[in-house]
Amino acid sequence: MMVLYINGNQRQFEQANMSVANLIQLLGLQGKRLAIERNGEIVPRSLFTETTLASEDKLEIVGAVGGG
């Protein structure tokens, strides 16, 4: 079990060991253009697979939207 705070919402996951890449898959976001911040630090896309998440991590997952 693992608790993550994703975009301000608390979420529970069955998995104990998950990489950022696993999480993206689980959330159905694979192939989407996005950027991720983990506990205030950016996780480069090239490190998604090798970055392991820990319980209580705070994640921001962002994309580009229309704006002026």
């Binding site: 989407k32 950016i42 896309r45 994309g63 002026g68």
Partner: protein, 261 residues
């Protein structure tokens, strides 16, 4: 034509009109309006991705491919330097190391007036971090100069408040900013209709960034086309050099000789 080229951070653009991508009815209207405007640089906002909803729906990046447009990620909605810097670092990661950004740090949710102290602080950090910073600011010539001195690649004073459509309220301040600046000065915010855009360009602005004036028009695509022409017309009029204003003229346009009788 060189006279129509805008140079920002070493890149050359033939369009002097920069447009936002917000407030449109849908993506197809966004794309049609942007194409009608002829803009090459488009602003985008960075926001939390919807988790679990409409995972398959197209994104802005699919509709406006970054290979065809120069993206200008903004910090709209940020009220502190820290938030703005965080947002643009995420934008850089999102857009594969893209360095050109629009910094805006707001001071008040009602007026969206910029907080120039936070803006200066954020600009310093971003420039140290290697970003090319186009900066939204007030029309204060001293702050504009300070932002240039710390290394911003373009100064973007408001003409009037964001989304207000009130037009060019203080042409004199804009003129001082333009005269003092060695980097491009673009009016950002406040333009309501084509004549406002022409006036800003006639003052000698290097370009204009707008969103609501186009997206908020009854026919956004037609207004985008009008804005394209207004920016071009204003630029040409600026380069042509207007005739001096006179209360009345003793010099008629038709010959004074050869009259009948």
């Amino acid at each position: 034509m060189t006279m129509h080229q805008l140079k920002i951070a070493g890149q050359t653009y033939h369009s002097r009109l920069l447009v936002g991508t917000g407030k449109y009815k849908d993506f197809s209207q966004t794309k049609a309006a942007i194409d009608a405007s002829g803009a090459q640089i488009v602003t985008v906002a960075i926001r939390r991705t919807n988790i679990g909803q409409n995972a398959g729906e197209p994104s802005l990046l699919d509709v406006l491919p970054p290979s065809e447009y120069t993206y200008l990620p903004n910090t709209a909605g940020c009220y502190s330097a820290d938030e703005a810097v965080r947002t643009l670092r995420l934008a850089r990661e999102l857009l594969d190391g893209h360095k050109l950004v629009k910094l805006e740090v707001l001071g008040d949710p009602n007026t969206l007036y910029p907080n120039v102290v936070e803006t200066l602080n954020a600009a310093k950090t971003l420039i140290q971090d290697g970003f090319d910073v186009m900066v939204y600011t007030s029309d204060d010539p001293i702050i504009a100069k300070q932002l240039e001195d710390i290394g911003c690649c373009a100064i973007m004073p408001l003409a009037s408040l964001i989304g207000s459509g009130m037009g060019i309220l203080n042409p004199w301040n804009l003129q001082i900013i333009i005269e003092n600046a060695k980097v491009p000065v673009l009016v950002d915010a406040g333009v309501g209709t084509a004549s406002d855009a022409a006036i800003a360009m006639e003052l000698g602005c290097d370009g204009i960034l707008m969103n609501t004036a186009i997206a908020g028009a009854k026919d956004p695509i037609l207004m985008a086309s009008a804005m394209k022409k207004a920016v071009e017309a204003g630029r040409e009029a600026f380069l042509a050099g207007r005739m001096p204003k006179k209360l009345y003229s003793a010099s008629p346009s038709s010959p004074t000789t050869g009259m009948i009788g």
